[in-house]
Symmetry: C2
Subunit: 211 residues, 2 copies
DNA sequence: GCGATATTGTGAAATATTGCACATAGTTGA
DNA sequence: TCAACTATGTGCAATATTTCACAATATCGC
């Protein structure tokens, strides 16, 4: 469609990876970095770094490199992480709680403003981060009232689709799903899946070959 | 190099995805499935399913489809998940504990046999799954004695490299890293990273475009 | 001011991955 | 036995992504 829609998805993901060492460099007051050094820090090819950035503008200075602070600001602008996002989490088991408690998300502007579970014994409990676990029946009005934009699903797999449907219908724009099932989504909602077991299986495949 | 090394990494990951609905189909006693139906369940192209499988053999029957049970067995053989794997986990914070407790991993043959932390107040504590948290100084001998093959890192980011080095040096064959840092590895050790925040940033990028 | 040096931005080549389209082969029913 | 049907396996074309290689442009020392 438009120009931006032709940007490779892997490039977008790499931008996020680039921002990690940049934050460290900013802390250590390194003013400038070359694509070569940044590439080495991220384990990619230097031309890749330049090309990824070039999709969005000319952020470097030829013969010099990239200003660390400026580049980080630009990347955050591109990824839309220069603003806060409002999230909720459905399924307050071990994983859901770990995510809700995680400081890194808060630091990066991901604000969890509601937590839901269908287990009656969990409802009403206060998490260390201050959130109170609500019944899943309150998802619809919470999403509306708190203007929740992203939903995180950490329920049992068999409930995942149901809550995804409910979240989408309530108006969330995106879902991050940790349940190991394929979620059917509507056009208006972007979904990303995280499945640790797939990564483990990938590792198993490779090391079994060697043995 | 050899034939297998030319198999695309995405194909390997998809095999793991295919196994999820296959397990459900096996439970519901569906004897046979076509590449078209399996593809729809996984949200991919049917030709992709056939091609991915064809890298490893001819598992289907023309005009019929794939026998669900046989296919699942074959995929598990390929991914080397038809056997048990011995794992340890370093960093028993919220995320580390959630992973150690997770039933799915155990069910799939990933056995956590040791848990380590450097926080003295955590050492000696018994987890619900029965593991006792040990000091990180015991990593080397535990990996050797328990023949641990895969290490999972869920420490603070700044400690991740140190423990990765220690795990590799102790003889683990693979590392699954959850700390948001680039880990430098040796040739003999395969690494996979899981970074939830990257996924969130990807979502943020897409939904910010729409708004 | 100018040559030597560094490093970006980018077109074009190389490589990797996906999807099409159809020959191939098994099944079913007459 | 054979025709009609179904769905796999696969060569090849299409697409996507990565990497190369170099012109463009900035800096530095003299
Ligand atoms: N923990 C992990 O490491 C991990 C890794 C990958 C995927 N996942 C997936 O994330 C999801 C949540 O995992 P988790 O580890 O947080 O699971 P968990 O068992 O801690 O809790 C998951 C949910 O199930 C409910 N639940 C758990 N036990 C229950 C019981 N006895 N009765 C009624 N309800 C109960 C909880 O209320 C919670 O909402 C699952 O789909 C899991 O497959 C988890
Ligand atoms: N929890 C998540 O959702 C999540 C998501 C993505 C990545 N991660 C990463 O995984 C790693 C672990 O995350 P977590 O949520 O389990 O972190 P956590 O804060 O629960 O614990 C992490 C580790 O730090 C130690 N620790 C924590 N607080 C401490 C303190 N006050 N004093 C001394 N030691 C302390 C713990 O002993 C533990 O080993 C981090 O690198 C984090 O960035 C976590």
């Amino acid at each position: 469609m438009n120009k931006e829609s032709k940007i490779p998805a892997p490039s977008i993901e790499r931008l996020a990876y680039y921002s990690r060492p940049l934050e460290a460099l900013l802390d250590s007051e390194t003013p400038v970095i070359s694509s070569e050094k940044l590439a080495r820090l991220c384990g990619v090819n230097p031309a890749q770094v330049r090309k990824d950035l070039a999709y969005f503008g000319e952020f470097g200075v030829r013969g010099v490199g990239y200003d660390v602070r400026d580049l980080l600001v630009e990347i955050k602008k591109i990824l839309a992480t220069d603003r806060d996002w409002t999230l909720c989490i459905v399924g307050m088991g071990n994983l859901g709680s770990a995510i809700a408690e995680n400081e890194n998300f808060k630091k990066r502007g991901y604000k969890f403003v509601a937590a839901f579970d269908s287990d009656p014994t969990k409802i009403g409990r206060t998490l260390p981060c201050g959130l109170i676990i609500e019944p899943t029946s309150r998802i619809r009005e919470s999403v509306r009232d708190l203007k929740i934009e992203i939903g995180v699903i950490t329920t049992r797999p068999h409930e995942a689709q149901r809550f995804a449907d409910l979240l989408m219908d309530s108006g969330v724009k995106a879902i991050l799903n940790f349940a190991p099932v394929q979620i059917r989504t509507l056009e208006c909602c972007k979904i990303e899946n995280v499945d640790f077991a797939v990564k483990l299986e990938h590792l198993a495949y490779h090391i079994a070959k060697i043995l």
